[in-house]
Structure formats: C-alpha cells, structure tokens
C-alpha cells in the first residue's frame, strides 16, 4: 500500500473538466455541467479523495459508473445529478456487496466527472484511472470488459426516478444493446453502473493515473492561456502528442442514429497544411483522421481537435462550418493496443475493415 492520494479541491474541477474534454477526442459529452455539479457538492462539504491504484486491498469492491446517451442530447437534456449514484446503489443491492470506491468508465468527456459526483453522493473515494484512457461510444469498449469484467448485474437510472437492473446478461455486447435501448427510452441521457469489480482486477486492467493526467492537461491549458502562450503547442509538448493537421472546417455531416451521433467532418488545410484536405470520421468520438485520403491516426489512438487560436477542445456536437482547428494525435495506453483490445476498439470494430491499426509513436514530453 502506498500513499493515500489527494483530495479533489474545488479549484481542481475546472482543469479536470478541461483535461477530460481534451481526452474525450471529440466525444464523451461536455463535462461542463458535471463540473458545476461536482463543484456544488464539494462546496457543500463533500470530500472526494483520488486514490492511486495501489491504495486499496485486493478484495475491495470498485464501482465503474458513467453517463450513457448521445452527447448531442446531453447538451440540451441536463442530468439531474444522482443518476449514476442511484444506478450504483441498485447494483450494490442486486450484487449484495458494498463498494469501496468509484472509477470512471471513460476519463474523456463528462464521464470523468460522473464517478466524482457519485463518490460525493456516496461518501467514497474515486480511483485514479479509468477504463479507456479516452472516450469511446459503447459500453463494452473498456479495458474492464475487454479483460473479462462481468456483464451483470449492471443498472441504469434516469432523472425521473426509473431504475432498470440488467440482472443476468450473457455478455458485454448484450449489456450494450440493452443499456443503449433503455437509455434511448430514458431520453438518451442516463447513468449506468456496471457490476462491482475487485480492486485486484481493477489494478490489472484500469488505464492508470488518468484522473491526474486530465488534471495536469487542464492545468497546462489554463497556465498557457494565462501566460498568453500558444495553447496548442503547449498541449502537444506536454502530453507527448503530435500535431497532424491545421485547417478550416468546410463541412460537417452528423446524424443521430440509434442513440449515437455518427458522421464526417471535412477540413481544408491552412498554415503548414495549406493545399491539403483532411477528413475525420465520427461516432460520438473522432475515429479516423485521413489527410489527403491517407489514414494517419485511427482508433484506439486519440484524435483531438482544438480550436486553433484558443486551444479550446472542440467536441463533435459543436463542430461546425468555419471553425479553424488543430488536429492532435496522442498514443493510447498499451492496454488498449493488445490484439484482444483491438478486436473491440480497433478500426475494424468501428466498421473500417480496410484499415489495419498503425499505432502512433510516443513523442518526447516537454514539461
């Protein structure tokens, strides 16, 4: 057992939400409302401790929670706040266990804040890690499920008081099917809690340190803004990422299909990329970047769009004609690149049979 982590301060929540938005790779939902909600709970006295992966004993039970729905809807239909908490309690009751901490399904986007909010309601700590190291559109696309987490009992709750328990589910794909369907009935925004996982399992399978990583990215962005530095350059340098394109959005096609926002964005190059054309495929998140029809970044690696001038992360639901953006690539964690993981989150899993995953090479990190 090592150190006992750190308490989340009120002043951490804005940088956490900025870092989370960036790691959302265009999706994961806007974390702003969740940030306000977490702030309110912390102002009222809730204490949420961020625990490193080695802080709890092997047999402690950890609860993974996250919002489920379409980010496009999440912008207009604001959650009540207790959705994930109520789902988590239903799972505890059904499984007959007591949770010791929460963990994020995905650090990218609003789901960075959901386990913080659920933890604040429950008086629990939150584990410094998550199941994606980014954002992904489907429930089964976590390291937890990829490496064998149980699909049941899981539960979903809405803001109206409905709670549905997936008591016996034959696999994670069925969980995704059922949870997606119920979330659409719930208005395409709901809280999902999956089956309790042992700390021993979470230690082996979580993408480690991602709460701290999001915080650190957020601090970098805020500091760069304050010092009037180039935010895009600072983010690239401090994360080990690489700038892949700068350009102006010329077209965005986006549809809400079965609870997902799917589509494409077209970008005309500016600066070093003048004369080039880029295209990004979207399913809630950015999936593939092509530059002049050559695929240069693809899932599970991270494709991050920042506003060129301000460095503000641009989520796919606000992406629009005329925006000037920088497209950054960031290598995903190793746990997401194994053959087993690529079956679930590689380009083929997202409907690109012609693409073979070609991982980004990590760049030197400049503090």
């Amino acid at each position: 057992m090592s150190d006992k982590g750190y308490l989340l301060k009120e002043s951490d929540l804005l940088p956490l939400s900025i870092g989370a938005a960036l790691l959302g790779t265009g999706g994961g939902g806007n974390p702003y409302v969740g940030m306000l909600r977490a702030r309110e709970l912390i102002r009222k006295g809730a204490e949420v401790r961020v625990l490193p992966l080695d802080a709890l004993p092997d047999d402690a039970w950890i609860g993974e929670v996250g919002g489920i729905g379409a980010p496009v809807v999440g912008v207009e239909k604001i959650e009540e706040g207790g959705e994930c908490y109520r789902a988590m309690r239903a799972v505890e009751e059904t499984a007959g266990v007591k949770l010791s901490a929460t963990i994020s399904a995905e650090i990218g986007g609003s789901n960075a804040l959901e386990p913080v909010i659920a933890a604040a309601y429950a008086g629990l700590p939150v584990i410094d890690g998550d199941g994606m190291g980014r954002a992904f559109p489907e429930v089964q696309m976590t390291t937890f499920f990829i490496y064998g987490a149980k699909a049941a009992p899981a539960a979903i709750a809405d803001e109206k008081g409905n709670v549905v328990v997936f008591k016996e589910v034959i696999d994670m794909f069925w969980l995704e099917t059922f949870a997606r369907g119920v979330s659409v009935n719930m208005g395409a925004a709901a809280g999902l809690a999956i089956a309790p996982m042992s700390m021993e399992f979470v230690r082996r399978t979580a993408v480690p340190g991602t709460v701290t990583q999001a915080l650190s990215i957020g601090h970098t962005v805020l500091e760069a803004r304050q010092k009037r530095q180039n935010v895009v350059e600072r983010v690239v340098a401090s994360t080990g990422g690489k700038l892949f394109f700068t350009g102006k959005v010329t077209d965005v096609r986006r549809e809400l299909v079965g609870g997902f926002a799917r589509g494409h964005a077209h970008i005309s190059g500016v600066g070093d990329w003048a004369g080039s054309e880029a295209r990004i495929a979207i399913q809630n998140e950015n999936l593939v970047l092509w530059v002049d029809e050559v695929p240069v970044i693809m899932v599970p690696d991270l494709i991050i769009n920042l506003e060129l001038d301000t460095g503000e992360p641009i989520t796919t639901e606000v992406l629009r004609y005329g925006q000037r953006i920088a497209v950054i690539g960031l290598p995903v964690h190793e746990l997401m690149k194994t053959p087993k993981a690529l079956e679930i989150v590689g380009p083929k899993a997202f409907g690109y049979p012609e693409l073979t995953f070609n991982p980004l090479q990590p760049q030197p990190v400049v503090a």
Copy 2:
C-alpha cells in the same frame, strides 16, 4: 374459502388453447406452441391446479406473467419455455416475496398458457381469471394496472438467459415503454412478470373465471366440430355473443411498427351482408369494426374473426386475402368498461378520438 378448483388435465389443453385463441380477438399470439409446451410438462408429471378467486387468503402473493412481443414474430421465433418463469423468479428475488400462484395478464391468445407453463415450472397453481378478459397490445392495459397495481419491480427474460429487472419505474406507461424496448432488443419475444399482487387485490380486480371460460368455449368448438354443427352459430349462442358480419377478406395492410403489428383489413360482405363493406382496425388485436363506415364494435368489446366454414379463430398475423370470415362481437367484462378503464383501453386510448365507446348488449346465452 370455497372449493379448491380443479387440476388441468392433458385433454384440457387443446380446448383451453382454442378458447384462448378466440378470446384473443385476433391477437395475443398463437397459443399452439404454448399448448404443446404445457402438454409436455403435464405429461412429465407437472400438476397445475386452477384455483377460483376465493381459494387463497388475502395476503397470498400472486404473480402475473405473460409473453411480450409482436405476434407476427412469435410465429417464427419460438420461445424456449422458461422465459416467464425466469422473469417471475427475478421479481420474487427483487421484491423479496414468495409467490403462491400465477395469473394470466391476458386470457386471449398465447398468454392463457404462459402462467400455466410458469406454474408448472414453479409447482404452483394458476388463478382462474386474468387481467383483460381478452387480449390487448400493451402492458398497462390490464385491470390490475388500471386499478392500481404497482409498476415495479417487474422483470423480463429471454430464451438466451438475459434477465432485465425494472426495479423502480414511475408508472405503468414507463413499464410498457421499457419492457417494449427491451423485448424488441430481445428479438420481439420475451417473458414478462410484473410486481407481486396480494390475493385481496387480485380478487377485486381480476376478470373472474376466464380460464374456465376459455376451456368451455374450446369444448363447445370441439363438440360442434365433432357433431358437424355450425361452429360459428354454436360459439355465438354459447358465449352470449352476436354475429355482426360475414364476408371475404379483400385487403390486409399490416406493418411491424415499434414491436406492434398495426394495420387494417377490408372485408366484402357475403350471405346476409352481401353488398356491404366492412373494415377492421388492428393493433396486434382487432380494435374497431366498421360496417358500411358505421362503427359497430369497438375496444374494449371483443371483435372475433372466425373462419366462416370451420369456425377456426383467425389471428391478425394469418389474416389474408380471400379468407371467408365471420365477425362476432362479445361484450367485455364490466371491470373493463368503467370510466377509469376506458381511459386506458377505450377507443380514444387507441387513437380514435372521434369514437365514443358504445357497449355491446349481452345476448341470451344458449347452452
């Protein structure tokens, strides 16, 4: 406490399924497969007793079960058999009660057999009554829900082993929404069990004696066939029903929309109705009969189509061009005709705001 009912014999199952098909008013699913399954269980030694409404004490818990899905699908996707039983067990566990008997959500169609099958699996009796006295397309359209049954906990199970529990549901309409959605994900055929009801409540709200009624109708049909009598005439005389039209089906329009089979059938008169045209509106069941554009029977009263020559009940999923049919009207039970009930199962609830329910008058019953 009165008598203790009667044991269902193997030889009762065919007449029960014939009577149930007839009371299905065109919907409720074909009871034939359920009949075979119940027969197999009874041949293997299962004993299912049919108990009158006054046989059990007030505080006994009764479990209402039924299949949920589209009858059109039910013809091709055959249930495994234990769906309702597994859903019922999940409800028992979640509610923390032990059931004393099962009861049918709807006596019409395949759901006449589902509580018999669940009872055979569980070693329980089945109550002589149901929640509709006919068939209806939606979960909330039972006397139980109309008169205040709790919407949760309910559960749904499929043939693959998935079990979803509706743990907290704000009302019966949300239960219908969630259960319908999950049943569609499950392949549009699943078993649903609703929250346990006290025997005291069931005694006040069930449509009484409908298992026995279905059996009796089935026996009438079989006897008439054996004696080469006119089956349509015998059914009309023995049920207190009335013949409203005879004709040839000239057109059937049917679509599968959101898990329901919706449409219209057109019939050209023959015999006493030569020169007249009839139309029947369908949502799984027959909803309204118009003769020469005048509405003559409407929900919740029963509209029953029988093959003119054989008296075979014709369900909406097998209704087709060229069939010669007799259309019989049967008054529904009083519990389905109160203002409260008509809000849920009257013509307006089915999308006919121009129709005011005009109840059929009971005809003298000829044994």
